[in-house]
Every structure is written in structure tokens, then in C-alpha cells.
Symmetry: C2
Subunit: 640 residues, 2 copies
């Protein structure tokens, strides 16, 4: 523990530590072996000075909204292996929407309608290719360094998929599966073009692959031959533009505000296949990508392809990138097995959280560019600070006033520290007090983010911290615990815990931004749907065994009010909701046919099925719409 | 509008009514034709006297919890066509858990694991029979008139399924599909046995079928030949004990505290197939079932069966039940198309909400039993009140102090009324003021429930009202709006709106009960799982092409740490979580194999799949568990 750190060590820590010890025992035991200062801290950290109720200089106002009062911030939350994206209102922490993308959603009919199945992807037999997902990171599109409200992206780690969410309608419109990738973990959009100054907005998404595999995949046991790819996806077409083969693996991803650099934190530079091997080296790296040079190399044909994939793959290994003036990549060393890498809103630094090291490493981007320009002798000279914060640093957020907020997984703390002071401390100024405050959180925090933290407009009001364990913080509901997204006021000198918000497992990343950055549309435009059924088009048409049922909904009536099929017909049923009133959504279920989906105002959706069961089937509205909602039905009569 | 009602009509109603008019236009237009006093109320109701901020005599304390403070009530919420059950903490409104039952859940691996697929039901090819659901009503098991914490049940309207939730582990353990039923709507458990006084707890669940169909189902167009069945399911075995064929249909269901009577509200006694026909008769019925007599008839062999079903079906039609002394059923008339039927906590009354009539009908249960005993000349003499409340009454809750709280869908109001006063008013006392208060809610409320309202321990503290439309109450998130579960303080004379809680569509019913009624378990018992893998049993065994992989998890290690398969192997992978610490859940994903599931502490789960893709597949822990969580993996190597 550093001297200044001791100043912040308060009383009462031991009891809490004991409790943590029983609950995260494996974690503490695991880390003790690999943290050189772990023992000294065990049982002594845990300030708690800023716990709820303590005085502070915060000014964010009441976190609890009156009935009808609107939140002031949107939050986009990843849903972990629930597989969705979630939209929260903040500061209330209320979940306003879950956006299905990788995983079917029975409410919407996601994975049921023809339109959603095309986005999700199907096998040759028409069934969904995947019904599980593991979303980790979500970030939104930029213009001039702030969110522009066009898109958000979210990744599926299990099946190496990237989904795009339209932020006008809050729906997923495209999903791309990355070739030759397993364990697709970090993503980040670029913030402007590295070359063309007119392109001051996001046009690329960078994607890190965590699990090295044989390229192309084959049953090879020797892990030292495995490789990982760093991928670039086009923001508009969602096609994979190019990939970079690297040493080691990719973890989290960050991008610079000038568009020139992307980076991924890297663990397992050892290419180990067991965790002991993966953590054997003392240092791994933050791996920088020179975007313009990579794209020039691709243009010049300096790439390979692997397996069935046509995506160009350039060589980003260390051995192939020794000359700074031609290098596509640069490996800045950081202590072993780092986790998060975050860009500071002053546009100057990437900060790497140490995970198995109690440190954060501050890398100055101008110096990285100097190295690529041949002006910095050693790439590690770009490291301007590497300071101790506590046990298990994972991720860092910012307040726009020069301060960083890093989660300490093992300490179950949030630590507030000043970046400039850390740089001075690292440079030798032992009087530089970089740790400003500590806050106990509950418990084992992972991601952290603050309002507007990932933009140049970081405003330092609210911070959310994603606690992986909630333990005793909510009423018991059996073995599966909610996670705890704690809300913290960071507007004052001391952090103040405002509220515990339970969430279904397992949010990883999230972003928080001002509500005025979005202007969502709440009623669809009928002409946006090629299959839309006009009022006079409702009815049944037949071409042999192929039957098309065109249907409209207008509360409390489906038209046609009954329709007949023959057993074995291949049926496409197209439903247009003619209701125009905001919030007047209808559902459409066919009993025993495993069909249910919704149509929002002026929306059209379709389903295709075989009429394989004879009888009367009451298709009914599943989304409460009207006093005669229960009576809103149409009869499907399937002749034997 | 009644005279006393006018006393509660306040100013300011018109502007709000205009707003409602644009948002629920169809509803108002639809009702105008069928409510004899609708016009007179349009534009004039909407008291608003008890809106937030008004003074009141409430004493429930602060609705907003401090960080770490626990809720005092559990809420079990149905998830509508999201297909789940949800557990909320109240008064915070925080969602603590979603319990998958009818619909796959990617977080848990529900619909992925062999265990969950057996509960959900599969087709001959092993795929899930259904992946959509439409949950409506949820109620819990009783003992001596209060919840006993054993079970809750929830129904799927689309596919006529009833699920049971164990309230020790908060998991679904059984699902039953009702034969010859479509549109399974209402459910209610009994509260004691009708005959055996020693059975003072729930042993039956009653289930209503809303959509009449041909028995057995066949492509018959003439709706007058269709019939509905009222079903009784055994609470322990979850087998269907018996069914009753009735005239008309079943909507909501209620049961008496003495175990003798069940009832269902009935609309469409006309057997119409279009909504105009379904609402053509002036009165429908609340249909009572004499449980003991029905079971005696079944025992005596007085039943039929339909189609493939072996379930005995007795005749509950009006024509067959004219003699009170032998009748199995009794049809108490209520105004057209009633909706909710609710049992008052004083054990005396069922209250039927009028939906298309502005009334509630109060039926005295003692008088219904008198009719069955030949002591009441006309069954409709059991009606002790039928009073006007406002437009679109749907459901009623109780405070245990003699007051009822009914939602008015079209008026977007909650009306508090006194049952005894209503009875006096109905008996001719024009001075009896039965309407005590009105509260505007936001908007179009459906179900309502109050703390302990469905038990003899109704405590009159909190009330939640499920508003079907939220419109402008939350930040806009595109066309699909959250619903709004508003929380109301009913502890004082006037109702006070406390908070808006958004929820994903579409909760229908819910119950709220004191937290001390449950003692959930948070760690499983390993011996409860027949397939549990002991630490020394991890490994791979092969019998021809059938391979069993026995695996354990203990943070941060899966054992075995790699395993080899041959392409085409039929693999069953069994995973036991050896970790014993509360909240230490692991996940297990196999990339590209569409497999992910969790194992909670000491839990065992299994998956079965064909190893059809060769290569290296990094199976990884998807549930954050440890500082080395990212490194927690095992390799599946599939030889070509």
C-alpha cells in the first residue's frame, strides 16, 4: 500500500473484509498468489468514508423521481447472457426497454417473425442458427466526440456476433458474425476517420477476439499455434472490412478521439491454455493499431485470408512490426493480465486497469503516435503513469474534471484518482496525492461508467458501477442473485452512494448520456415496410400450396375476421397495424402453432408456417389494447 | 352517474380526458355504444383530488429505500407474453428475478439444458414444443387463508399450459398442458378442501378456458357448437383431475375461503365468433362450481372424455343443472361481458367487475351455498349489490377494512368504494355513500392488487395498479412502451400515488405479500441432483458414439480442463458447480454449438448435443465469478 493510500484507510474495514472473504473467497485466494502487495492490503482496506449518509459536496438533486417525472439520462446496458440490450432511465435506474438482438424474445416475436429471423440468421432448414448469446459491451455512434444518436452496437461473445441497434426506433437491424473468431469480447466504434477530416463521425467498429484458435479452426491441441484476430466492421454495411492477426489475445477495446488509433488490452501473451500459464508472464500489453496504415496495407494487397472467409487479414504480430515507420501495430507493455482500457475525455490518454496487478497504467496517445512517426525511441516511453490503486482494478470512468474512477474487483471498492497527480507521482513527485477518495460498493464491481464519460462532454454527475455480486442487498429470491448496478453521485469532492438497482444477470458494460441527445420515433412509418397491408388489401390469396394471408389490426378488430386453410399449406401471414396512436401495440398469437408477435403502431410483420394441425384456432391479440381486447380475435380454420 | 358520484367529480378533468381520448380513442368509441350512462360521464370524470402531493392520512413510510435497505413485501408478477414470472421487491418496485417457465431463457439455459427441456416439453425430434407463451395470472398456495410459501402457479394463455413455481428455490418444476382448451385465461388455487377439514391448504388449481372450440377440435365453422372447459389441476402431481363443460366461456377465476366454491366470470354466453355478437346479450354470468359435487360425480363415473384426453369431463351446462339440490354449477347473472372476479378477504363475497357495464356486482357466497341447498329460490338473489363505479371496471383489490379498489380501464382511474355501503345502497339506502375516493392513474389500468389482498391477512398498505399504457410517463424508447405499474398508498382515507414503475410488457396479474412468509434457499443441496458429479468423478466416458462428459466447476477452474470428442459423437455433458458460496454462480458456454447455461452453487445441469463441428472450442464461464473469470475455460477438441 502506498503512503498516501494509508491516509484513506478508515476503520471498520475488517468486519466487511471478513464478509467479503467468505463470499469471494476463491477470488481473494487466487489473487494472493499473483499480487505482490496483496497480503499487506488484505483485511485493512475499505474506507467507507463516503458511504451513504456522509456529507459531501454533491449537487445532482434527488435520485428518486416523483410519479410522472422523467429521467434526465439514458443508459444503454448490455444484458450479458440474457442476450439483450437494455435501456435504463437514470437516475431512477428504471428499465424502460429490453431490445432483443442475439436471442429470441417472446414478447416482440423476435426469432418468430420472418423479418427478425433474417436479421438473426437461420440454418438451411429455416430454424434459428443461435438462440443463446452473451452480450458484453455496448457503445454508441459518435460525431465530433459526442454521441449522435444514430446507432449503438453490442457484441455476443459466445458466437462472435456484432449487432447494431437503431436509436431512432430502438431496434436491432443488422447482425454480423465475425469469421475465424471465438470469444469476441471488446468493441469500440471509432470517433472520426483517421485520414479524411470531413468524416467527423463513426464509420468503423473495432472488435477484439479473446480466445486464440487454430486459423482456420481445426482439432489442434498445441495452443502455441493458436492466433487471435482484431476485426474492423463497417458501421453502415456491417460487413467485416479487415482483420489483424496478433500475438496473444484481445480483451477490451478503446479508440482515440482523432480516429488514428485503436487499442486492445491483451492478456495471455503466453498463448497458454490453462489459467496458470495465462498469468505466468509478468507483463502483457496494450496493443495499438494504426488504422490508416492497416487500411493502406489492405488496399495494397498485403494480406492473407483464412478458411472460407474472404476478409483480408494483415499481419500485426510483433515480429512483423519492428520498424516504427512501417508498423501496423505497437505493443505497449502493461502489468500481467490487464482488463479494461478506457480513453480519457480530454482525448489524451488510454488507461489500462491491471486486474491481476493493483495498478492502472496511463498511456499518452501523442507519444504512441510519436513512436509510429519514429520520434519516440521506445514504445514503453508512452507510459506516463503506472500507479497503485488497490486489488483487482478492472475498468475506469471519468468526470471531465481530470479525475478517474476505477473499480477494484477484489477490494469491492470504487477509487477516485486524479490523472495529472498520478502522472506527477509516477514522474517522481512523492507528494502528489493521486487517490482522492474510496467508496465501498456491494459487491465485486466490474464495469463502471459515468454520465457522458466516454465523450468529450463528460459531465461528472452520475456514475454507475456494475457489481457482479449482490449477496445480501436485496430480498432473497433463491440461488440466482440479481446483480447490483449501484448509482453514485460524483458531482462533489467525495463520492456518495445513492441507490442500489438490481438487474438481471449479467450486465457488463453500459453507457450513460444526456436525454436530449436522442429523439426517438414512437410511431412507425407504414411506407417503410414493403409488405404493408393497406386496409383494402386484407384477405387470403393462394398459389398452389402457398397461401398468403394479408391481415390488418385496428382495435378491436383483425381483418379478415376468419380465414380458412388446408392442412399442409405453406402460409405466410402478414399483419399491418393500422392504429396510429402512440403506444397502441397489438399482438398476434396462434394457439398450438408456436406463433406470437407484436405490431407497433403502423408496423408490419410477417410469419411463415405450415398449417399442420387441423381444427379451429383462435388467433388473438396478446397486447392489451382496448376495452374489447379480449374479444379481438380472428379464427383460423384448418381443414383436415 | 349516481348522485354521490357527482360529489367526487372534481375540476380539471376535461383536459386530461381529451388526452386520453386521443390515446384510447377506440376504447371510448367502443364503449359509448354499450354503456347506458357512458355519454353522461365522458368528459366529466377524473377527480384527481388524490394526485401526488395531496395531503392524506397514509402511514406507509418512504417508498424509496436507502442503499442496502430491503423491501418489506414480495411481489409475484406475471410477465404476459414475455412468458416469464417476475419477482419484485416492494415498495421499491425493483425487479429481483425473472423466473423462466414457458419460454426459453438464455441466461439460465432454460430450454437448453436437458432438465429444463423435460419440464417445458419437446417434440419427437427433441426440439422444444413451444417457445412462446402468454402468462396472465399468478397466485400462490394457501394454508389457513394466507400464503404458505410452497408454490405459485402461472398460466400460458396461448398454449393452455399451467406452470408451477417452487417458492423455496424460485424455479419452475412442472408444466401441464390442458387438453381440449384454447385461450386458458384465469386461474386460482383453492384455499382448503371442500370436504376434509384437515386439508386446510391448497390441493387444487382451477383453470378457465376463454375460447370455445369444437370438442374435440375439428374444422367446424359454426361457433354455436363450440364449448369451453373449466379444469381442475392437482397441486402436487400437476395432473388434470377433471373438467367441466359449460355454456359460454371462462374468464377470470376465484375461489372461496371455505374450499366449497370456485367461480369464473363468463362473457360470450352468446357463443358468438365476432365481438359484436359476443356483447349482444345484456347480461352474462358469474359461473359457480360446487367442487364437492363435481368430484362426487366424477367418482360416480358421470363423465365423458373428448378426443385423446382421458380426463373426465362432467356436464356443467345450465340445461343439465336446473335442480339446485343436484346442480354442479350455478349461473349468477351479471351485466354483459364482466371481467375480473375477486374474493373479499372477509371471506363473504365475490365481486365481479363489469367491463362493458360501469358496475361491480357483489355476490354473497353464503347465499350461493343456500341456493345449492335449496334454501334460496332464485340464484340471482345471491346478488347483494350492483353499483355504478365508472367506465370500464376490470379488477378489484381489498384493504381488509371493508373497502374495495376497482380499476376503471376507460376512465384511467382507481375507485375506492365501501362494500357494506354499496350493499346498503343497493338495498335502497340512497344516503349510503359507497364511493370514497378516486385516483387518476396513468393510463388504462387492468389488474390491481394490494398487499395481502387475496388473503384473510389483507393489510391495506400498498396497492399496485397495472397500467396498460404508459404513454408519456417515461423517457421515449421507440414505438414499444413499457407498461406502468403504479404504486399507491392506501393506508389512509385518500389514496396517494407513490411511484411509477415501468415494466416490460405485459404483466397482467400479480400478488403482493409480506416478506416473512417466504424463507427461500440460496444454495442448492447437491444430493438433490441424481446426476451430480463428485470431484473425483470428472472425466469422459464413452459407449460407442455416446459420450458422457462429467465436469465440475470451482472458481476459476473447470475440470476436466480439456476433453476430446469425435465428430458425430452424441454427447451428454453434465456439470456440477462445486462452489458452495452464496451467489457464486458459473455459466458454461460452447461457442458455435448454441449452448449456454448456468449452474448455481451446488447445482447440477446437463446438455445433450451432437459434436457436428470439428475444431477447438473454448468452453468458458459466462457468469462473472472470480478475478480469473476470463481465464476460466475448458477446451473441447472435436476431431474431424
Amino acid at each position: 500500500m502506498s503512503k498516501q493510500d494509508k491516509n484513506h484507510t478508515a476503520n471498520g474495514g475488517f468486519g466487511r473484509r471478513q464478509f467479503l472473504g467468505t463470499a469471494a473467497a476463491a477470488g481473494l485466494a487466487g489473487i494472493a498468489a499473483c499480487s505482490d502487495k496483496g497480503d499487506a492490503r488484505t483485511g485493512t482496506a475499505g474506507a467507507g468514508a463516503s458511504a451513504a449518509g456522509a456529507s459531501h459536496g454533491g449537487s445532482v438533486g434527488n435520485v428518486h423521481l416523483k410519479p410522472g417525472e422523467l429521467d434526465t439520462y439514458y443508459g444503454l446496458w448490455s444484458g450479458g447472457h440474457t442476450g439483450d440490450m437494455r435501456v435504463l432511465g437514470l437516475p431512477s435506474g428504471r428499465e424502460l426497454l429490453r431490445i432483443p438482438c442475439f436471442v429470441p424474445d417472446a414478447l416482440v416475436g423476435w426469432g418468430i417473425t420472418d423479418e427478425s429471423k433474417r436479421i438473426m440468421g437461420t440454418r438451411p432448414d429455416g430454424t434459428l442458427r443461435y438462440t443463446v448469446g452473451d452480450t458484453h459491451h455496448t457503445h454508441a455512434s459518435y460525431r465530433d466526440g459526442n454521441y449522435d444518436g444514430r446507432y449503438a452496437w453490442i457484441n455476443d461473445k459466445i458466437n462472435a456476433r456484432l449487432a447494431r441497434i437503431r436509436l431512432d426506433y430502438f431496434v436491432c437491424d443488422k447482425i454480423t458474425e465475425l469469421p475465424n473468431v471465438q470469444g469476441f469480447h471488446g468493441i469500440f466504434p471509432d470517433k472520426r476517420d483517421p485520414v479524411d477530416p470531413a468524416i467527423n463521425y463513426t464509420t468503423r467498429i473495432f472488435c477484439g477476439a479473446e480466445f486464440a484458435i487454430p486459423l482456420p479452426n481445426a482439432p489442434i491441441g498445441d495452443g502455441t499455434t493458436y492466433r487471435s484476430l482484431f476485426s474492423c466492421v463497417d458501421a453502415e454495411t456491417m460487413a467485416v472490412r479487415w482483420q489483424v492477426m496478433i500475438d496473444g489475445n484481445c480483451d477490451l477495446v478503446a479508440t482515440s478521439y482523432d480516429g488514428k488509433l485503436a487499442a486492445t488490452n491483451q492478456y495471455n501473451s503466453e498463448n497458454g491454455v490453462h489459467f496458470e500459464e495465462m498469468m505466468s508472464a509478468e507483463r502483457d500489453a496494450c496493443l495499438f493499431f494504426h488504422v490508416a496504415r492497416i487500411e493502406a496495407a489492405v488496399k495494397a494487397g498485403k494480406f492473407k485470408t483464412y478458411g472460407d472467409s474472404k476478409v483480408p487479414v494483415v499481419d500485426g504480430t510483433q515480429a512483423a512490426n519492428q520498424d516504427p515507420l512501417t508498423a501496423l501495430t505497437a505493443y505497449v507493455s502493461v502489468p500481467k493480465n490487464p482488463h479494461g482500457v478506457n480513453a480519457s475525455p480530454d482525448q489524451k490518454y488510454f488507461i489500462c486497469a491491471g486486474k491481476l496487478s493493483p495498478t492502472c497504467t496511463v498511456i499518452e496517445l501523442a507519444k504512441v503516435l510519436d513512436w509510429f512517426d519514429g520520434k519516440l525511441p521506445k514504445i514503453d516511453d508512452a507510459i506516463v503513469a503506472e500507479v497503485e490503486l488497490g486489488l483487482g482494478p478492472l475498468h475506469t470512468a471519468f468526470d471531465g474534471r481530470g479525475n478517474a474512477y476505477t473499480t477494484l474487483f477484489l477490494d469491492s471498492q470504487l477509487v477516485k484518482w486524479n490523472v495529472d497527480a498520478a502522472i506527477r507521482f509516477h514522474a517522481g513527485d512523492r507528494n502528489a496525492r493521486y487517490v482522492l477518495d474510496r467508496l465501498d460498493v456491494h459487491y465485486q464491481p466490474g464495469h463502471v461508467n459515468a454520465s457522458q464519460s466516454e465523450t468529450i462532454a463528460a459531465d461528472g454527475k452520475y456514475l454507475a458501477v456494475g457489481c457482479k455480486f449482490s449477496k445480501d442487498r436485496f430480498l432473497p429470491v433463491g440461488p440466482l442473485h440479481a446483480e447490483n448496478e449501484q448509482l453514485v453521485d460524483i458531482s462533489g469532492d467525495r463520492m456518495v452512494l445513492l441507490a442500489d438497482h438490481p438487474v438481471r444477470g449479467e450486465p457488463h458494460d453500459f453507457i450513460i448520456f444526456r436525454r436530449d441527445l436522442l429523439q426517438p420515433k414512437q410511431v412507425y412509418a407504414m411506407e417503410d415496410f414493403p409488405l404493408a397491408v393497406a386496409p383494402d388489401q386484407a384477405g387470403v390469396t393462394r398459389a398452389g400450396r402457398k397461401v398468403t394471408v394479408r391481415m390488418t389490426s385496428q382495435a378491436p378488430v383483425f381483418t379478415p375476421r376468419e380465414f380458412r386453410l388446408r392442412r399442409g399449406d405453406e402460409v405466410t401471414l402478414i399483419l399491418t397495424n393500422l392504429d396510429k396512436v402512440e403506444d397502441l401495440t397489438h399482438g398476434f398469437a396462434i394457439p398450438k402453432y408456436n406463433i406470437n408477435f407484436i405490431v407497433n403502431p403502423q408496423e408490419t410483420a410477417s410469419v411463415t408456417f405450415v398449417a399442420d394441425q387441423p381444427g379451429v384456432f383462435w388467433c388473438y391479440c396478446t397486447h392489451f389494447c382496448h376495452a374489447l381486447h379480449l374479444e379481438m380475435r380472428t379464427r383460423m380454420i384448418v381443414e383436415a
